[in-house]
Amino acid sequence: MDNAKNNRQLVVSVSPHIKSEETTARIMWSVSAALLPAAAMGAYFFGPRAVLTMFISIFVSVLTEYLYQKGMKKKNTIQDGSAFLTGLLLGLNLPASVPFYIPVVGAVVSVLITKMIFGGLGYNIFNPALVGRAFLLISFPKLMTIWTTPTAAFVKVDAITTATPLGILKEEGLQKLLDTFGGSFNYYMQMLSGNRAGSIGETSAIALLAGAAFLFYKRYISWHIPFSFLGSAALMAWVFGGKGALFTGDPLVHLLSGGMLIGAFFMATDYVTSPAVKKGQILFGAGCGFLTMLIRLKGGYPEGVMFAILIMNCLTPMIDRGFRTEVFGTRREAKG
């Protein structure tokens, strides 16, 4: 005993010895910060109602996590920001015109059923915000697909109901879509700025790309998932998206519309529900892109990002197993 005490200065703890300053909380709050431009653009285009929807969604998410942990006598983890991020992502993925009980129901399903029941952060199989949204879309199909035109900065009070670009594309085709926006150049510009109908946070491509650039800079996300996601979706759109002949589709229309960007950069890249191995991440992203385009082009819904990511989420454990990295020193001798 004495001996051990005297030798204490020589005791070395087990590895790792160099610790990064990154913590779960830091990453979660950074991702939330990266979503701020998109949230701000949503607030600008869709007005106070959008702000309130996002606020309710965040508030109920955090409250649900707090109450669950209180009730179950577990350690409180709301400071790690994951409930905040879930609430924010859910709010950004709702139309601005929904009644206020919708974000409440969605946030409870997201946090309680998808995350806490499975054991909390790190144990959930599915992306919480997406399950919440899927639950809402299936439960309230009418309310969840009433899209309003952007009312431009708190000016107009009455919003006008309209179809999303993908809705028009699905119902009336590409030509009609471009006519509505006055030519393809105007269309791209509107998509970039976000002046179009859609969910609160998914419309502004510029804001989302700025947030994504921040995450790339901080190395919180790697290129593997988003780029394979967008790449395979673009390939599918180019090959099968055209009318009649193959290889005549317009990939940009598909990449900029709907929830493609927010899905690829912010939701498919969720650490918990995506593969940990790089090769697996590429397969995961490619699968997301493929399924998204399959649903958009051939499915019943105009938008498929949400279902695509959820389907790939449940394949994640298998992908991880399939691309397991070799443990150093365990490789078998090649047969000679």
Partner: protein
């Protein structure tokens, strides 16, 4: 399992609580999700299973001395399918509306793990009376589970019970779809086991 010791009431309680087909053993979940989007279908399905389970147990326990052990499973299947056919045809004759919606699932009772399992582990080793009460217990447990599940799914998903409007609010459409069935079964299973564990703990004290 050796020959059963204990009262008939214990057998019924065992079927409803300790070995509840849906909530404890988690078998025969297919009908628990497929037919439980309204209370009437859930109830009728439960009654059909209660009837088949009881009759199969009685038949097997009466025939057990004549069945050669090596071919017992095919014989059990024959007995089960015989009783299922009787149920199927009676239902088609007396409740044609409900039969139209759930006919396929009535026929699928043939393949229920719970019924074959009880014939194998209980009825083929026990006398007439315990076998009958075991069948009634297991059947009641299944009926109970289906009624509870379909009660909540119809109430939340349509705002009605047995077709009668109860609440006048926006229903959660997902609850009457298959996805909602999984939610309902999972949450109710957790609740059932939670209550049961509390009860057992209280009794142990």
């Amino acid at each position: 399992m050796a020959a059963h010791q204990g009262s008939n009431w214990d057998l019924i309680k065992n079927g409803i609580i300790a070995e509840n087909t849906i909530f404890k053993l988690a078998i025969s979940l297919c009908p628990a999700i497929a037919v439980t989007n309204n209370l009437r279908n859930g109830f009728l399905m439960g009654v059909a299973v209660l009837f088949v389970q009881t009759m199969v147990n009685i038949t097997i326990s009466l025939l057990k001395n004549f069945i050669h052990p090596k071919i017992r499973i095919p014989i059990f299947m024959l007995v089960i399918s015989g009783w299922v056919t009787i149920t199927d045809m009676s239902m088609a004759a007396f409740a044609p509306d409900a039969y139209k919606q759930m006919g396929l699932y009535i026929q699928l009772i043939v393949a229920f793990a719970s019924i074959l399992a009880r014939a194998e582990v209980f009825a083929s080793k026990n006398k007439f009376m315990p076998s009958m009460f075991d069948g009634i217990g297991m059947g009641l447990g299944f009926l109970f589970a289906l009624v509870v599940i379909s009660f909540f799914r119809e109430l939340l998903g349509k705002g009605t019970l047995w077709g009668i409007p109860i609440v006048d609010a926006k229903p959660l459409l997902i609850m009457i779809l298959p996805a909602g069935g999984f939610f309902a079964v999972g949450i109710l299973m957790a609740a059932f086991n939670w209550i049961d564990a509390r009860y057992l703990r209280k009794r142990a004290q």
